[in-house]
Structures are given as structure tokens and as C-alpha cells.
């Protein structure tokens, strides 16, 4: 009798689960594939560290512990679901080997208790601490999920307690259930039946609830982490645009839900609305409409709505502005703080850029003030400011510089000056400092001069993939023809594009940032410093050097060589806060309550340092502008300039 009832309930629950999952499964299966099968070992490694080890959850200690208790608890308690089913058929049945093993009984008892502790911490966070990261999340749904989890483990403990009272289980191995067994007597057979049924029914009800809830991450998180990007996060997935190819292959980013890739959809179904991304987002922090969490939630709700109650997939509605507004799409600085923070490896930045690609290439819809940048990059002079290409060497002055001519032998290092480094008065100082230092160290180096052009980074982050592709192909051809092997760049954006994105266009280069090369030259004593610079300095990590590429130590090593006393900002290294210029924001006007560069500069100023060291021309312009706007005496300077001032000739 019980077996029949169990079979019926199981069949019903599974059928409901499948029905409710169908629309989302169909959507993901029909979606564009994401080429993410390289380096399976690295992907498997993430499953160990990030899923089993909960690495990214522990980036916040207490919430991390809360989640780990519940997650590990459920992993351990999984066999008890089978145990409950067996016991429903016959109270004497249990799992072979495990069912009566005292160590297993103890582990179940311990982890069930830890889950309760986890739920208690979760409620304390949500009801007492109430962090701002939950703003906009579905709080009621979270409460229901937590209460269900609580009900699952409480019924499990009580069921185990009743089995101890009935003499079916060993009380000595289960301290908590053993203590609770006092609630029952040897005649509590009916209570035991009610508890085991309640336990199983709650588990199955939870299963059927999952497919349409934000708790679906317990199924989607592991594959989402597996299919996350390998390698530096600064590399954007290229989108080849072949105007000669068949029309059906021509795609301009993401316009509707039907254009989202498998990974992008999996991202949407993996979000638990924890808000860690929102907490670190420079746009949200300065009062702009963009929150990475709300972006993902809005896209998810749009897609979920599109698959509606009928199960029919209606995907023709544009994601912008139906799901998210234009402003949200343009607010992003692509700093990657959200991606780094996300415990389930949602890739917000790639989706935002894909939305931009559609707006720019298909609809020509973007903040109009950025048009000058695109025209400049596309125009004959190929730089964002449209400055004459012939003036690329305008910074040289009396510094001995070799301009690599076609046909000449390539130097050991090609110095990729970058457009800012060539044209912007502040960045030019960095360029000049690096040139002098390279000469002082006797490095064999040269520049491309007028043959250099924009790497295409601002166009690409703006969504103009086609323009980027043209520049990438052109620059790769120039560098390859010149026989260049090693490149040094002062701009973090050029560095990222040359190192991580040009390989997709055939480049085979060893790319270093100037701070790396300078640190290397210092270590080899090819550069000798006085070490006598006085004052305090705080180093601002550039997103595309630090977080996106893991270069944290080289600039700090160089600063250590100057003799300046270093002090760190509260948000430093991988948690550094953007200057506000990334993602082509350099070329757009900023709205919102506060400006990102002012916010960051205030953090730098709060350290009491008299110099803010930067390692990217964008950061230089943004933070220096903030300093000037505030009328601050704090100096903003590139690491290279600070080193040059402390270097022996």
C-alpha cells in the first residue's frame, strides 16, 4: 500500500518537475552554443574549488559560512532522501551499509544541525543586518525557500528521533536526534509514519517548486561554473562579422532572448539574487540605474515571461528597452567587479556588451556624445580624438627614440604607445618617463609611430565589434609583418586587448605592461634607483591590469623601489574600484547622483597619501580630473613617472 502511494507521489512530483522545466530546457537547448569546452581540467578544478569548496562564497565570511553549512549539509543529506523512501515502503528497510553505520548517523545528525544553524544565520542576515545588496531582490521568496529548507531538516531530525524511540536507530550516534527522541515513546509508530511522509513530501514539493524559482541554482550553478570563461576575464568572446558570408550567419550582438547563448541563458537561471555584484558595482554605488543583479533578474523575468504559462516561446520582443533600459546598458564600465564577485560565475559584462553590439551595429542607438570617438577611431587617423596620425610621435621631443620603419629588424620590445599615450598631455608624461627608463636600462626598443593605431578597445567595449575587428586585423598584420615578438604597453586597455584579444585574430605576441617590465629591470638592477623619494603613495589598481589580468604586484614592486611609503586603499587589488572610464565610459557623459572618479579619488585621499599612483592613462585622466575638480593638493602620477623621478641616470 505504502509502496503504491510512494510510487504515485514520486511519479506526480517528477512529472510536475519535468513539465515546469520544459520551457526553460527547450530555451537553453535551442540557444546558440557557447564554445566553452577548452581546458576541461581547469573547468573540473573550478567544480572542486568553487562549487564543492565554495571559494567565491567565502569572499564574504559569514554569508559564506551560512551557505556552506546549507550546501554541504544537503550534499551529505542526499542519501537520507533514499533512506526515507525505503522506510516508507517498510520501516525496517534502510540504506545498505550506511543505514546503521554509527559514523553515518553521526554525520547526518551533525550536518542537519549545521543546516539549521545556516538557516538561522541567513535569517539573521536578512532580518537583522539587512545589507543593501538585497535591495531589489525577492525577499519573500527567499523567506519561503529558507523556511522550506528548515522544514526539510527539522522533519528529518524529528523522524530520526522517532526512529530512535521506536528502537529502529542508534541514539548514541546521533546527539541531537537522540536528545529529541525524548519527545517520543516506543508507541510513536504513527508519529514516525507522519514524519517520514512529511519529510518526503516537503522534499518533493521543493523539487517541483525549483524550476520556476530563483533557487534553480542548485541545478544550474555547477554547469554554469563549468562553462564559465577560462583565462583572463578581460577577454571578450569575439563575434566574427563576415559581410561576405551567408546572411543567416550575420548576427549583431543580442537583440532578443532568441539571440542569447546557452551560457547567457544559464546565467539568468543561476542567479539567486544575492546581490554581491550590486554591492561592488561602481554604477550602482554612484546612484545610476544599472545594478548587475537587477540586469540579470530583469532579463530572466523577461525570458521567463516570454516562455509564459502556455509554454509557447515568444522571443521576438527586444530586450532593450522591454527588459532593461538603454541607460542600464550604457552605464557599465566593464570593470568586471560583478563577475569576480559572483559565486556562480555569471558573466554580466559579456551580456551587456552583446546588448551594446546590437544597439550600435544594428540600430545605431547609443549616447550621441560617443559618436566622436567612434568616428575618430574609424576615421583616417584611427584614434578616439581624431588627432592627426602624424602627431603620434609628438611626445618624443629630445628623447632618443627609434621609430621602426618597414623592412627594419624588429627590436626586442615594441613599445605600444597607445592613443592616450601619444596625444593626451598627461599620458604623454608617462610615455616620456617609460621611454627615458627604457633608454637608461639599455633596452632594445622601438615604436611604430604613425603606423600604430587604436587597438579598437573603446569601439569593442562600446559594442562596435565590426570596427574592432577591422582594427584588430590591421594591427595584427602590422605587428606580424614587422616581426614583433614582445610588446610593452602603458595603457591597461591596450595591454588587455593585445594580450588577450588579439590572439583570436592571429597574434602571437608576448605582451607585458610597462610596470612589469620596469619591475623586471629593477630586479635585474638594470635600473638603479636612489630609493630616496619622500612622501606617501597609494596605488590605484586599473581594472584591466589588476582584476581582469591579475597584475597586482609589479606596480607595487616598482613603487617600493622609489622609496615612497606605500599605503593601501580599502578597496585594492582584485577588489579595486573602477576610475569610471572603462567600457568606453571615457567617451560618454556621466549621470547619476555621484561621479565614479570623484568617489574613487575620495577613497584615495582618505588614505592620507600625498600621491595617487596610477598605471593606466584612463585612470590618470579620471583621477586627475577628480583631484582638480576638488581642488585637492594630492598629486596623481603614473608609476613610471614616480620611478623616473627616483632613478639614477
Amino acid at each position: 500500500m505504502s509502496a503504491v502511494a510512494l510510487a504515485a507521489v514520486l511519479a506526480g512530483a517528477v512529472a510536475l518537475f519535468v513539465t515546469r522545466s520544459r520551457a526553460r530546457v527547450a530555451l537553453v537547448r535551442a540557444a546558440r552554443p557557447t564554445p566553452r569546452t577548452d581546458d576541461v581540467a581547469a573547468r573540473a578544478g573550478r567544480e572542486l574549488t568553487q562549487v564543492l569548496g565554495q571559494r567565491k562564497l567565502f569572499q564574504k565570511a559569514v554569508p559564506g559560512l551560512m551557505h556552506a553549512f546549507i550546501f554541504w549539509g544537503f550534499l551529505v543529506l542526499f542519501p537520507t532522501i533514499v533512506e526515507a523512501m525505503l522506510a516508507i515502503v517498510d520501516p525496517d528497510w534502510t540504506l545498505p551499509y550506511l543505514g546503521h553505520a554509527p559514523w553515518f548517523l553521526f554525520v547526518v545528525d551533525l550536518f542537519a544541525t549545521l543546516v539549521i544553524v545556516g538557516v538561522a544565520i541567513a535569517f539573521a542576515i536578512r532580518k537583522v543586518q539587512r545589507p543593501a545588496r538585497f535591495e531589489g531582490s525577492h525577499m519573500g521568496e527567499a523567506d519561503r525557500i529558507l523556511l522550506t529548507i528548515l522544514a526539510i531538516v527539522v522533519t528529518l531530525l524529528l523522524w530520526n528521533a522517532s526512529r530512535i524511540a521506536l528502537g529502529l536507530s542508534d541514539g548514541d550516534a546521533q546527539p541531537v536526534a537522540g536528545a529529541l527522541s525524548g519527545l517520543f515513546t516506543a508507541t510513536s509508530g504513527t508519529a514516525e509514519r507522519i514524519l517520514v511522509w512529511s519529510h518526503l513530501l516537503i522534499v518533493l514539493a521543493f523539487l517541483t517548486y525549483l524550476p520556476r524559482s530563483k533557487h534553480l541554482h542548485i541545478i544550474t550553478a555547477a554547469p554554469n561554473v563549468f562553462f564559465a570563461k577560462n583565462g583572463p576575464s578581460g577577454r571578450l568572446e569575439p563575434q566574427r562579422i563576415d559581410l561576405e558570408g551567408p546572411d543567416e550567419d550575420l548576427r549583431f550582438g543580442v537583440a532578443t532572448a532568441a539571440d542569447l547563448s546557452k551560457k547567457q541563458l544559464l546565467d539568468l537561471f543561476s542567479c539567486t539574487e544575492c546581490g554581491r555584484c550590486q554591492d561592488v558595482c561602481p554604477a550602482w554605488a554612484t546612484g545610476k540605474p544599472l545594478s548587475p543583479k537587477l540586469l540579470i533578474m530583469d532579463l530572466r523575468d523577461h525570458v521567463a515571461g516570454a516562455t509564459g504559462a502556455t509554454g509557447e516561446i515568444e522571443l521576438q520582443a527586444p530586450l532593450v528597452p522591454d527588459a532593461v533600459t538603454d541607460e542600464v546598458v550604457w552605464d557599465c564600465v566593464t570593470c568586471g567587479a560583478c563577475v569576480r564577485e559572483c559565486p556562480v560565475d555569471i558573466e554580466h559584462v559579456d551580456t551587456i556588451v552583446d546588448l551594446r553590439r546590437n544597439l550600435v551595429m544594428a540600430e545605431s542607438r547609443f549616447p550621441s556624445e560617443a559618436g566622436a570617438m567612434l568616428r575618430g577611431v574609424e576615421g583616417p587617423n584611427q584614434n578616439p580624438w581624431g588627432q592627426p596620425a602624424s602627431e603620434r610621435t609628438g611626445w618624443v621631443g629630445d628623447i632618443p627614440v627609434r621609430v621602426l620603419q618597414p623592412g627594419e629588424d624588429a627590436p626586442e620590445y615594441l613599445f605600444w604607445v597607445g592613443c592616450a599615450g601619444a596625444f593626451d598631455d598627461r599620458a604623454k608624461k608617462t610615455t616620456q618617463s617609460v621611454a627615458r627608463l627604457l633608454n637608461a636600462a639599455g633596452v632594445d626598443w622601438a615604436i611604430l609611430g604613425a603606423r600604430e593605431s587604436c587597438t579598437g578597445d573603446p569601439a569593442r567595449r562600446m559594442g562596435h565589434e565590426y570596427l574592432f575587428q577591422m582594427l584588430a586585423e590591421q594591427n595584427v598584420a602590422t605587428l606580424t609583418e614587422a616581426g614583433v615578438r614582445k610588446v610593452v604597453a602603458t595603457c591597461a586597455h591596450c595591454f588587455n586587448t593585445l594580450a588577450n584579444e588579439y590572439p583570436d585574430y592571429g597574434a602571437r605576441l608576448e605582451v607585458v605592461h610597462h610596470t612589469e617590465l620596469l619591475s623586471h629591470l629593477l630586479a635585474e638592477q638594470r635600473l638603479l634607483t636612489t630609493g630616496g623619494a619622500a612622501g606617501t603613495v597609494t596605488y590605484h589598481d586599473a581594472c584591466y591590469l589588476g582584476r581582469h589580468n591579475g597584475r597586482f604586484d609589479a606596480p607595487r614592486d616598482v613603487l617600493a623601489g622609489t622609496g615612497l611609503t606605500s599605503t593601501e586603499m580599502e578597496r585594492a587589488r582584485e577588489r579595486s574600484f573602477c576610475c569610471g572610464a572603462g567600457g568606453a565610459r571615457m567617451w560618454m557623459e556621466e549621470g547619476g547622483e555621484a561621479r565614479i572618479n570623484d568617489t574613487r579619488f575620495a577613497e584615495a585621499e582618505a588614505t592620507g597619501a600625498d600621491t595617487v599612483a596610477v598605471a593606466c592613462p584612463y585612470c590618470f585622466v579620471m583621477l586627475d580630473d577628480a583631484a582638480k575638480a576638488k581642488g585637492s593638493d594630492v598629486r596623481v602620477a603614473d608609476v613610471a613617472t614616480l620611478l623616473a623621478e627616483a632613478t639614477l641616470d
Partner: protein, 318 residues
């Protein structure tokens, strides 16, 4: 040889570009006519005539405002068919580019865009490679040849003539009307029209606050110019974004640009480097703007600007 100037008109008269093009058309020789479509057309005929149009084909019909581009292109195509002009000159503005493109699709004849001069009726010059080289191109193929000329390529000068007005019926079939304007929205610009001003007085961070902009207003009023600002001044909230000159603001090409308290960061310079003469007033003689300026004045702007205004007023008065 008949040359037509497609004049942009409004209730306040013809656009300056129409008078510039008429002046040029006169130099090219032959018959010169103007086509003015839209409210204000008949009213503009006198000024058009005074600048060399012997005939003005005019229609005051509001349909040209209701269906921008398409209505004018259709009526022009009919007029061209009836009168067979040889050369049509358009101002290189958004509105006229729209009309010229649509008209070319109907005539199938040569269309030259972005011309800076017409050395002869079958020749045009244009800039290539971002303005680093100037080339002369031949206009070939059958008439009418259409040329879009950059505004301010020529100086307008009156000929003292009068025009015969030929009324044009705005008969545009339904399927030729295209997009219809459903709403107009005037962007509230508290400043004067920067892009057209012959003199621009721009203020930057050196002003130190919103109030000193009044001394720039005084100077601009004295010289008949407009006031602009650098991004720093706009970001600081001293003046609205409509004032902003630079990479992410407006691009201006006045005859005289007076930069007051502006250091000359690249972001700003890209918006004003096309000015014919640049005057910089700055406390810092090493500011980058000084390298760009034709005249650099090092000193306190609060002393220099009012003195300059005073001197301009005195000379204007005498």
C-alpha cells in the same frame, strides 16, 4: 547653365547657408534660382533675391515640416523634371542631406557630398584623410548634378537683385510622404546657439564657480558671440551640458575662440581646434592651451576679461 540653390527657410528668413550658396552660384555664372520649401518660403524670397536668385520657387506649405525629407524630395524631383536645371547646391546639414539623398535616388545622377568649394560648375573640392589632404573632383554624368556643400564654405554677400516668385504646389501623393512628424520637442538650451556663433567665449575650471560666467556673458554680448564651457565647468555644475565644447560635447569652428581659464585638455581641444583664431586667457603660461593659441594672455582672468569687454564696448561706441 542653370544653378539652383536649395534654400533652407524658416519663419525668421532664409538660413545663412542659403545666402552663402547663392553668392557662390552667382560666381559660377549662368542663371541662378532658389528653391524654398516650407513655412517662411515666400517671406524669404526677398533676401534670396538680394543675394542673386533671379527666380525663387516657393511653397509655404506645412507638409514639408510634417514629412521632412520625403516631401521636399518629391516636389524637387517634379520641379527638376519640369525645368531641367544643371546644378543643384545643398547645404551640408542634416535636413538637406536627407533631401539630397532622396532626390538622387529619383534622378540617378551624380551626388557629391561634403564639398568645400566649387572651382567651376563641373568641379568640386573636398577634404580626405580627416582633413589632411584636399582633392578636386570632376562632376560627371548627366544633369542635374547634386552637390552638398559644407556650411560656411563661402562668405555671403548681397548682389542687390530681386527675385520673381514662382509659387509651387505641394502636391505629394500619400505613398511619397514617408515618415510623419508626430511631435516636436525643443531642448531647453539656456545658452545661445554655440555652433553658429562667429565668436565663442568659453570658460573652464579657472573661473572657479558659476557666478564668474556672467563676465563671459558680458564679453560675449559685447562681441556678438556665444558662451561655451569646458567639461570641467559643466561637470562642476556651473553651467548646463548645452554649453559643453569638446570630445563629448559640441564641436565649434568660430572665427575667434576665446578660452578663459581653460587648460586645454585633449577632451576640450578636439571640440574647438577648428577655430580660425584662438585666444587663451590663463594664469598658467605652461597650460597646453597656450601651445594652440594664436594669442596667449597670461594673467588674472578676473582683471583681463572685464577690461577686454570694456575696450570692445568703447571701440564699438566710438
Amino acid at each position: 547653365m542653370t544653378t539652383w540653390v536649395i534654400a533652407e527657410v524658416g519663419p525668421e528668413g532664409p538660413a545663412e547657408s542659403a545666402l552663402e550658396l547663392l553668392t557662390k552660384a552667382r560666381d559660377l555664372g549662368g542663371d541662378v534660382a532658389a528653391v524654398a520649401l516650407g513655412p517662411g518660403a515666400t517671406g524669404a524670397a526677398e533676401a534670396l533675391g538680394a543675394h542673386g536668385a533671379a527666380t525663387v520657387y516657393a511653397s509655404d506649405d506645412a507638409i514639408f515640416e510634417e514629412h521632412p525629407g520625403s516631401a521636399a524630395a518629391h516636389v524637387l524631383a517634379e520641379l527638376v523634371g519640369a525645368h531641367a536645371p544643371d546644378l543643384l547646391l545643398f547645404a551640408g546639414t542634416y535636413a538637406s542631406r536627407d533631401v539630397a539623398g532622396r532626390l538622387q535616388a529619383r534622378t540617378g545622377t551624380t551626388l557629391m557630398a561634403n564639398a568645400t568649394d566649387l572651382p567651376a560648375a563641373d568641379r568640386a573640392t573636398t577634404e580626405i584623410f580627416g582633413g589632411t589632404a584636399i582633392v578636386e573632383v570632376a562632376l560627371e554624368g548627366p544633369a542635374p548634378r547634386l552637390v552638398l556643400v559644407r556650411p560656411k564654405s563661402f562668405a555671403a554677400s548681397p548682389s542687390g537683385g530681386t527675385a520673381t516668385i514662382v509659387p509651387v504646389t505641394a502636391d505629394v501623393p500619400e505613398d511619397r510622404r514617408g515618415a510623419r512628424v508626430v511631435e516636436r520637442h525643443a531642448e531647453a538650451a539656456s545658452g545661445p546657439k554655440l555652433e553658429d556663433a562667429k565668436v565663442v567665449v568659453a570658460g573652464g575650471r579657472g573661473l572657479g564657480g558659476p557666478d564668474p560666467f556672467s563676465i563671459l556673458d558680458d564679453l560675449a554680448a559685447a562681441v556678438g558671440g556665444a558662451v561655451g564651457a569646458s567639461r570641467a565647468a559643466v561637470d562642476a555644475g556651473w553651467v548646463p551640458y548645452a554649453y559643453q565644447i569638446g570630445q563629448t560635447g559640441k564641436t565649434v569652428k568660430p572665427d575667434v575662440y576665446i578660452a578663459v581659464g581653460i587648460s586645454g585638455a585633449l577632451q576640450h581641444v578636439t571640440g574647438m581646434k577648428g577655430a580660425k583664431r584662438i585666444v587663451a586667457i590663463n594664469r598658467d603660461g605652461d597650460a597646453p592651451i597656450m601651445q594652440l593659441a594664436d594669442l596667449g594672455v597670461v594673467g588674472d582672468l578676473f582683471t583681463i576679461v572685464p577690461a577686454l569687454t570694456e575696450e570692445v564696448r568703447r571701440r564699438a561706441g566710438s
